[in-house]
Point group: C2
């Protein structure tokens, strides 16, 4: 088993969550995905489809988000997107507004300094950011 899976489950356990089949499969699914996924996508995906109800996935995501194991993203669609938070990793995204494709951007994120500035000037706590680029991808153009 991917050590990151074990690690992530450990974080959940420490947060007081029980180790259920659904939790495991959800984490594996999120980890396997290269991009954020919606609740509907997650609930319909192979690992989870026969494993548990959509409401369960919803409540799991909710709990995991509370404990900063996943993050809920906007990404402009009607449905919310979720992605696993891996300590030390951060992604910004490039999204095609025509076909809806989503890809993570590799380049180092250029906003850390501004984030630090905001932290100091405004006194906000637990600051994090979300950065997305939208446009028409070459295929759709």
């Amino acid at each position: 088993m991917n050590p990151l899976v074990k690690e992530t489950i450990d974080r959940c356990r420490k947060a007081g969550l029980r180790r259920t089949k659904a939790l495991e499969e959800l984490i594996i699914t999120l980890l396997e995905s290269e991009r954020p996924m919606t609740l509907a996508e997650l609930a319909a995906s192979g690992r989870l489809a026969d494993q548990c109800d959509k409401a369960t996935v919803f409540r799991l995501l909710q709990r995991l988000a509370e404990h900063a194991v996943v993050r809920r993203l906007g990404l402009h669609e009607r449905a919310a997107y979720f992605t696993l938070l891996v300590p030390g990793k951060h992604s910004d995204y490039l999204i095609c507004t025509k076909c809806g494709s989503i890809e993570a951007i590799q380049a180092p994120c250029p906003v850390h300094q501004l984030e630090e500035e905001i932290r100091q000037k405004t006194g906000y706590r637990n600051l994090y950011h979300e950065l997305e680029f939208f446009g028409t991808c070459p295929k759709c153009a």
Copy 2:
């Protein structure tokens, strides 16, 4: 009347939209607002509440978004937010995840260079970005 209102209405006219009372009031409302607003907020706001139906505001926003007069933002809430696009102006936002307050960030946006890089490397067209900082504001902390 604020010259920006006239200017914006002109842009709408050029896009083929008719100059209606609802259009005018919507643009004024968006322009007066310091921050993005939801459809519900807009439809309930003084200028529009007695002026027109929520469906009308919805369809107006839709048309305006198509013609890049307004932009639809995610901002993490269940409801979508809308903001007027003023040529040459761009805002990033700082949002409190507890009380939901939204404020525009004054600091110059640090991602233009990355945006340019992406434009060149990926061939995406009509590129723009959305950047938000989330955290707990001093009041809520």
